[in-house]
Symmetry: none
Subunit: 198 residues, 2 copies
């Protein structure tokens, strides 16, 4: 997406670039998690990474592109979802809930996702970004894999999983916050299965 | 709701009562924010407002009612939930989902609830307040009404409804955002029913 970045990906890329990229992304994840999307800035991310803002623009482009790059690292839906969507349809609900809970258990994934959700609460930009990400990268892919299914059913299944991680990781309601993943899967998987496969 | 308050709303209300109410509410907001729901008390709120605890009871009633007033919630769980929890247990899921969707459809309710949820995303204080309020005023009441039920099942049911309103009203994912309430109820009520009643 970034012309500057594409140019830079030539043989002339300087040594150590991968580390700088990684440091910027780590700083970006912290910033988005701490401040949400709207209040974060390329300048603030650069400051947190200890680099010049021009370098952030150089590698990623806009704040949104930094955000997407930071999001893509811990969980690439293009990579993880197809494995889960393939396989025995009668176990689809369980595989989805298991994947969902396990990625939300990773702080590296949770922090940016919570930042994205928080920004959805504070501004239209965040809501748009989240809507597009969820709609395209996640739900669109599910619908594509399992065949014709009412999008409302896919979203209601997603709502069940989103609600669980919000009460578990944001509101931290007990016993849900400390419950064993298997216990939650046993409760929630049949629900997701019913919505998606019937 | 408060008989004492209703009596008080007569012609004999003393001058300056509105200010006293306002001062009590301001004190209540500070107390709830500083201590959380469970550790706050009518006595502590009265002390912070510089009035007698009897006056707090007189204007608002219980701690829960002070909270509902302080948070400007146009939904008093003590009033609306018991109606829904009574009645045919085989329709409980439907009644709960219908109530939940209808109160979230009211902007006057949605605004303070989203504020509370947003604050849960931005700081431990907000999360604590929401956790305790949801736990005590809402889920505790559900568990009390329907008899012995695994709290995890009540919370998973709540998670389904919370997820729906977040995707519907915050992320505004289509078609969920514009879906007819009855269509959502038809999908979600059996899930809530299954969690709560089996």
């Amino acid at each position: 997406m970034t012309p500057a970045e594409q140019q830079r990906r030539g043989p002339g890329r300087r040594p150590g670039a991968a580390d700088t990229r990684g440091e910027i992304l780590a700083a970006a994840r912290s910033e988005f998690a701490a401040r949400g999307y709207d209040a974060s800035s390329v300048r603030g991310i650069a400051r947190a990474a200890g680099v010049d803002p021009a370098l952030v623009h150089h590698y990623f482009g806009t704040k949104e592109q930094v955000f997407v790059a930071a999001m893509a690292l811990p969980f690439d839906p293009a990579e993880r979802l197809p494995q889960v969507l393939a396989g025995d349809p009668s176990q689809l609900g369980e595989r989805l809930v298991r994947l969902f809970l396990s990625i939300w258990a990773e702080p590296d994934f949770r922090a940016p996702m919570l930042g994205m959700l928080r920004s959805a609460f504070t501004g239209e930009q965040g809501a748009t970004l989240l809507r597009e990400f969820v709609g395209t990268a996640l739900l669109g892919r599910v619908a594509q894999a399992i065949g014709p299914v009412d999008p409302l059913r896919v979203q209601t299944a997603a709502a069940q999983m989103v609600g669980v991680v919000i009460l578990r990781h944001v509101v931290r309601l007990e016993p849900l916050a400390s419950a064993d993943e298997e216990e939650i899967i046993a409760l929630v998987a049949p629900t997701v299965q019913r919505y998606l496969v019937g």
